[in-house]
């Protein structure tokens, strides 16, 4: 009973976020507020981890920015600032958290693609 009441105001799942898996290459359209201006910023990278936790659920996307610098950004599933998420590619991975990607760069950081994502369609 008490646990249910905790979820009274939990938001509905964002319909613009498809089911994500670790290893997915995604494009996140995030709304950025700068002063009184608003714009959409796209962040593309590999889903490195997905954390549950109801209203606090989040996922971390890693991308390689300029000069080979790795940038990780964590998004809250329930944030109204996430416009939408596209899954571009699904990879076959054997772990839930892909922290090992931090050790590798370039060709070594590739993941094996899982074709089943597109065969369904």
């Amino acid at each position: 009973m008490t646990q249910e009441l905790l979820k009274v105001w939990d938001p509905q799942p964002n319909p613009n976020i498809p089911e994500l898996h670790p290893g997915d290459t995604v494009r996140v359209h995030a709304r950025i507020v700068e002063g009184d201006r608003e714009r959409i910023q796209v962040f593309q990278g590999v889903v490195m981890r997905i954390r549950g936790g109801g209203a606090n659920a989040n996922f971390t996307v890693r991308r390689i920015a300029a000069h080979g610098i790795g940038v990780e950004r964590t998004f809250l599933f329930n944030s109204p600032r996430i416009e939408r998420v596209e899954v571009l590619r699904r990879a076959k991975v054997r772990r839930a958290q892909l922290y090992f990607l931090r050790k590798y760069r370039g060709k070594a950081a590739r993941l094996k693609e899982d074709r089943s994502l597109f065969e369904d369609k």
């Binding site: 009441l5 905790l6 105001w9 507020v33 209203a55 329930n78 944030s79 600032r81």
Partner: protein
């Protein structure tokens, strides 16, 4: 005194909500009421103005409890709220969360979590001693507790280790973020005293 209104309830736990602009707000969910006015105290009868409200459910009442509650439901908890407009209440009246609306400021009173016998570092934020430079057994010590022959004693009220928590605590001016009248639940911004399931008294803010 002022006109105050309040309800008894139970802490459900903390979560986060988003504002319209997308900012995260830490909130505590509190199940509040319904409460019943079990006694009205006025200057004429008791020397001060207050209402006594009841909350919860107690399946078996003893005779004095049953006599005091009369036709009211068998409540487990009784608390008094001092308010100038006590005379406007009637015994048996139901108070529910609709007395609060989003944006209101409230004071939340509860019993803080007990920490047991705590040292001065945890209890009062003392710095403790140095970690290195030949220290032994001094890492979390209180340090000096006074002078020498003059005054030759330790002053009363000196902060020292002792029991911490499990005390009545009030957090002032918490903003009500959400109210759900059907489920008797509110969400206030920030933390409130006590464990999940602990009894809370929520009143409209006195200092605002």
């Amino acid at each position: 005194m002022a006109k105050r209104k309040g309800l008894l309830g139970k802490k459900i736990g903390m979560t986060r909500l988003f504002t319209e602009t997308g900012e995260v707000q830490p909130v505590t969910i509190i199940q509040l009421g319904p409460c019943y006015v079990t006694q009205v105290k006025t200057v004429a009868t008791d020397g001060y103005n207050a209402i006594q409200i009841g909350y919860g459910h107690k399946p078996r009442l003893n005779k004095p409890e049953a006599g005091h509650l009369g036709s009211n439901p068998p409540v487990r908890y009784l608390r008094e709220i001092r308010t100038d407009d006590a005379a406007e209440y009637q015994v048996g009246q139901v108070i529910d969360v609709s007395v609060f609306k989003p944006g209101d400021l409230v004071d939340v009173t509860g019993t803080s979590k007990g920490k047991g016998f705590a040292g001065a570092v945890k209890r009062y934020g003392f710095r403790g001693g140095p970690k290195t430079h030949g220290q032994s057994d001094r890492h979390r010590a209180v340090g000096s507790i006074g002078s020498t022959t003059t005054p030759g004693r330790v002053f009363k009220g000196l902060r020292a280790p002792g029991h911490m928590g499990n005390r009545r605590t009030t957090v002032l001016n918490l903003e009500v973020v959400k109210v759900d009248v059907e489920r008797n639940v509110i969400a206030v911004r920030g933390a409130v005293p006590g464990p999940t399931g602990g009894l809370l008294l929520v009143r409209n803010a006195i200092k605002s």
